[in-house]
């Protein structure tokens, strides 16, 4: 069987899987960003309870495996009366996990904005909220984009695990094709290449573009 015949026969499944992978990635990324912002800011709070609850969240999600978290959310949460559909459980687990890593990125970036910026905003008598929103955060945003680029690639890779709770993503389809045809190189190899294209030819250039656009915007403003 040539590779062209293989694609002809199984290409549609790989495409279906890729679409699910893209959906999982986007939804998980949105969730991760939201969690990262909230937890990252909470980590900088002067209130001990707020600060330490963020720390606990971050340490739990960074200290255990994503696979453990995924299984826990999918198999154990129902015992507490929270039953999630597998698709939902998938991106929630990935998003919550990467959100914990993102929180540290957010915190780090905010802390690397020079202290003089904060003081200047204070001297202008800006409120704490507008200090953060108008002065500190925009500068932090530029600093945090490159690490976010890496996180999104990690996130895309992490979505492959949702196949283990039978979400029919790219990884799942590759496994199915392998199971029926035993053409492992073709099945898994094609999936590897598709993931590679998504990371290096979509996410990486996309983030570069965003960085450039943002710094242009900032220097004009």
């Amino acid at each position: 069987m040539t590779y062209a015949e293989f694609l002809n026969e199984h290409g549609a499944r790989l495409i279906d899987g890729s679409i699910i992978t893209v959906q999982q990635t986007i939804l998980a990324a949105l969730l991760a960003i939201a969690i990262a912002l909230v937890m990252g800011l909470m980590r900088l709070s002067s209130n001990y309870v707020v600060r330490s609850s963020a720390t606990v969240y971050i340490e739990i999600f960074r200290g255990t495996s994503l696979l453990v978290q995924l299984y826990w959310i999918f198999f154990v949460l129902p015992l507490f009366g929270i039953t999630l559909e597998k698709f939902t459980a998938g991106f929630i687990a990935v998003g919550m996990n990467l959100g914990a890593y993102g929180a540290e990125v957010v915190r780090g970036a905010i802390q690397s904005v020079p202290k003089g910026q904060y003081e200047a905003a204070l001297a202008l008598n800006m409120s704490p909220f507008s200090r953060m929103r108008r002065i500190i955060f925009p500068q932090a945003l530029i600093l945090m984009l490159p690490p976010w680029g890496n996180l999104f690639i990690e996130l895309l890779k992490a979505t492959a695990l949702v196949s283990l709770i039978s979400v029919t993503d790219l990884m799942f389809q590759a496994k199915q094709i392998n199971g029926t045809t035993y053409l492992s190189i073709e099945a898994f190899g094609s999936a590897l290449v598709i993931y590679y294209i998504m990371s290096r030819l979509v996410i990486t250039p996309g983030m570069r573009w965003l960085e450039r656009a943002l710094s242009r915007h900032m220097s004009r403003a």
């Binding site: 255990t64 453990v68 299984y71 898994f188 993931y195 990371s199």
Partner: protein
């Protein structure tokens, strides 16, 4: 709390602890492979031979951009297609070792590149041999900036070992799955696995941070007094 059964927890604990040793072994062996192969990757990217340089860099990029779990399947299933049967352990160690070797090669590279050019020149001016230059001067300086990355990936590889369960390596996750399907109880096995991971990774991360400060202090490269 929520139907948590302590007697069941205690009953499964010995098997989980046994599996923990397998997890630690998988992480240790995988990390050992990654440390060595990663160094080879990093040094290969410093050779003046273009083709080696380029192909290793591309391979590292590829491995870093694709999911580990897919790589584990790939290594495990591609062998038989060529009549080469790898045991789950062998396939798993190759996959996870190569994956983290790619990450570590970047850490090594950044570490080596952080040593200023002037240090190489000073070694040349003192007529130190290449070996001495690397071992006495360059590596001691490249190490402190590389340590945090190396430590993160040690914890990282440990947390990624559950993926080996997909090809049947009998580590923690695999055991928890087995326990769950035997008893139809998932709460205790999965929760215990989570707790075991926390109990190992948090102290390890803390220990690594202490070690990093100790190293850079011992080498006299931080401003604080000894």
């Amino acid at each position: 709390m929520f139907d948590w059964k302590w007697d069941f927890t205690i009953e499964i604990l010995p098997r989980l602890i046994l599996a923990t040793f397998n997890t630690l072994m998988a992480a240790g062996v995988g990390y050992g492979i990654a440390l060595i192969v990663g160094l080879i990757f990093a040094l290969a990217q410093r050779t003046p031979i273009r083709i080696i340089n380029w192909s290793v860099r591309e391979a590292v990029e590829f491995i870093r951009s694709t999911p580990l779990v897919l790589q584990i399947f790939f290594v495990f299933y591609v062998g038989p297609q060529f009549d080469l049967r790898l045991s789950p352990w062998t396939a798993g160690m190759i996959a996870i070792g190569l994956h983290y070797a790619s990450y570590l090669s970047e850490v090594y590279r950044a570490g080596l590149e952080s040593v200023p050019q002037g240090q190489w020149e000073a070694c040349r001016a003192l007529n130190l041999s290449t070996r001495r230059t690397y071992f006495r001067i360059i590596i001691p300086q490249a190490l402190p900036p590389a340590l945090p990355g190396m430590g993160n990936y040690l914890v990282g590889i440990f947390k990624d070992t559950p993926m080996l369960s997909v090809i049947g390596v009998a580590e923690l996750m695999h055991t928890a799955n087995a326990l769950g399907s035997e008893s139809y109880r998932f709460l205790e096995p999965y929760t215990m696995v989570g707790i075991i991971f926390l109990a190992i990774s948090l102290p390890t991360a803390f220990g690594l941070r202490t070690f990093e400060t100790w190293v850079s202090k011992t080498l006299g490269m931080s401003k604080s007094k000894k």
